[in-house]
Symmetry: C2
Subunit: 150 residues, 2 copies
């Protein structure tokens, strides 16, 4: 099993970052505008990305949501490499920043698609940083293009 790891810091508050991770409006403002579903614990969030070669979407079950501290999802539908993997966001305060420790855990193989997803997550986490600092993120379809795989 291999994991994708990232760390960003935003000058915004843990409460604002938590809202961006646990509301459909928040998620639609930094990851993909096509976000829908139920963001409560036990609910399913649906993320879609039209018009790009891969992936066309992910469904996440919300396993944990501890205000201003931790959010955990399990991937229940999407590309086969993603199904069963888990995504965790851990929040803490340090030096006037809200730090987000991100892990996408449980990949079976470190294949080329995982390399792509790692870089793509970095650009989306920078979008989360921008959203919470300036009010404007870069969610799909206005996301940063990193390669032929979008």
């Amino acid at each position: 099993m291999v994991d994708i790891l990232h760390r960003i810091g935003t000058t915004s508050t843990p409460e604002k970052v938590y809202a961006a991770l646990t509301t459909v409006d928040g998620l639609a403002s930094w990851w993909t505008q096509e976000t829908s579903g139920d963001s409560d614990v036990g609910g399913i969030l649906k993320f879609r990305f039209h018009g790009v070669p891969m992936p066309d979407g992910f469904d996440m079950k919300v396993l944990q949501a501890e205000p201003a501290e931790r959010v955990l999802w399990e991937v229940v539908d999407g590309p086969k490499e993603w199904i069963g993997t888990r995504i965790v966001f851990e929040l803490k305060q340090e030096d006037g920043y809200t730090i987000v420790l991100f892990r996408h855990e449980g990949w079976e193989e470190p294949g080329e698609f995982m390399h792509h997803c790692s870089t793509k997550w970095a650009t989306f986490l920078m979008s989360l940083k921008n959203l919470t600092e300036t009010g404007k993120g870069e969610p799909a379809p206005h996301d940063v293009r990193i390669s032929n795989w979008h």
Copy 2:
């Protein structure tokens, strides 16, 4: 052992990307302006980053340099978490892009510093993409700030 993985694609040629990975001028144009040393196989490249909390620098031994295909470095000095790790850039052509598969291999622990370095590598690889596509990268000290750790 755990690894950092990334994948980017640039519309530039493998030859231009290879030059950006194997010349002091090229490296200074996307990673850090304070690059010096010997970029031939067996040589030591020195990367420095003044005025930031961490890290203050890395020394890399060039283990492989296969034109337009592959570059491999071993970290011989720097933060203790980096020493002995290896960094590989693999190049290939696909859909009119030069694809860069990047791995920073052999971390002992997936600690918070590794999370930071993963995100930071993503932003520097986007700088490599920008350099090879437009002629202008964002090397340190003009790099993208991702957190309190720079």
